[in-house]
């Protein structure tokens, strides 16, 4: 005779618990955490280089790079002079809270104002793994489909901000900005939307200002 054991337990509760621990640690060290997600090639690393260029004079920033293989992105970030640690997931398509916890030994948390995590380029899996971040930024570029939010709803629902990157390429694509905004808002009415071009610099001041505001509100 079988016995039924009621659990009603979230499957990712271990990751969620660990993320909650990290969040407490970050709060006590007064570090703001930003998790950047996107599909591969949306320009996350370029946007990050620009962000570091304008913010690292006023803020102490650290960067965790997540990739399946190579430390190419970390090498790029290191050139900006900001401390960076590369996590190579060795096949896993997302970062988990445990990987972030281990990476923290490479930083002096008490000296940081902002820790930026660049997640593995993937719009599906990273959405399910809380890393203890205060701000989740999804980057979408104008060379992708404007229906991306509808195709990857979990990611766009969980993000606080959507950055539409490569805005300079709009004349050469069929990407409809109004449509992508409508699609994202239909899933996540609260989502904040910014437009940037790392090539022309359009929107970068607004983006940096937004990140600065996030860091300041985190310290209040």
């Amino acid at each position: 005779m079988s016995e039924k054991i009621t659990l009603e337990q979230k499957v990712l509760s271990r990751n969620d618990l660990l993320a909650a621990d990290l969040r407490r640690l970050f709060a006590s060290e007064k570090v703001a955490i930003m998790n950047m997600v996107s599909s591969p090639g949306s320009g996350k690393t370029s946007l990050l280089e620009k962000t570091l260029g304008s913010l690292s004079q006023n803020l102490s920033i650290g960067v965790i790079e997540g990739d399946i293989q190579t430390d190419n992105d970390a090498v790029r970030i290191a050139k900006t002079g900001v401390p960076v640690h590369q996590i190579q997931t060795g096949g896993a398509c997302h970062l988990e809270a445990e990987m972030v916890r281990k990476a923290l030994s490479h930083f002096r948390l008490e000296e940081l104002d902002l820790l930026i995590i660049e997640n593995v380029g993937n719009l599906v899996c990273p959405s399910a793994f809380d890393l203890g971040e205060g701000l989740r930024v999804v980057v979408i570029s104008t060379t992708e489909g404007d229906d991306k939010p509808l195709k990857y709803p979990a990611m766009f629902r969980s993000a606080h901000v959507m950055v539409i990157n490569k805005i300079d390429l709009l004349p050469y694509t069929d990407f409809d900005v109004q449509k992508v905004v409508r699609n994202a808002m239909s899933l996540n009415p609260e989502i904040h939307i910014l437009k940037t071009s790392c090539r022309t610099g359009e929107g970068l001041d607004e983006w940096s200002g937004f990140v600065m505001e996030f860091v300041q509100s985190n310290n209040e």
Binding site: M1, S2, E3, K4, I5, T6, L7, E8, Q9, K10, V11, L12, R14, N15, A92, C93, H94, E96, V124, C125, S127, A128, F129, L150, Y152, P153, A154, M155, R157, M185, S186, L187, N188, P189
Partner: protein
């Protein structure tokens, strides 16, 4: 493929609970998966079969997955609606002033053991 991580996590939870209750065999795991959870059901079932291994405890365990459609509450209409696909737009007023009632679940409801 985060379904593999999820499958491993499910197996961990199940083994822990089974040990707690002195189970010899886990017959079935009943899982609830919302349409907004981002989980691919077929891939999860495949991953679970791949990781459950040859241990007597879980060799024949069936992973039973209940998909939960998106359900929203529209505040201005004061009504409960089924979301159209993945959307949280009210189908009546087409407004966005809605609350999600169901759709983001990824949880083990219960396990059946011997």
């Amino acid at each position: 493929m985060h379904e593999l991580s999820i499958a491993i996590e499910i197996l961990d939870i199940v083994e822990r609970e089974a040990a707690k209750h002195g189970a010899a065999v886990v017959r079935r795991v009943n899982l609830r998966v919302g349409d907004l959870s981002g989980v691919e059901t077929e891939s999860l079932a495949f991953s679970f079969d791949a990781v459950k291994g040859e241990k007597d405890l879980t060799r024949d365990t069936i992973l039973s997955i209940l998909r939960l459609p998106v359900k929203i509450h529209c505040i201005p209409c004061d009504g409960e609606f089924k979301g159209a696909g993945h959307m949280v737009v009210c189908p009546q007023c087409e407004g966005l002033d809605t609350q999600l009632l169901q759709g983001e679940e990824l949880e083990i409801e219960d396990i059946e053991i011997d």
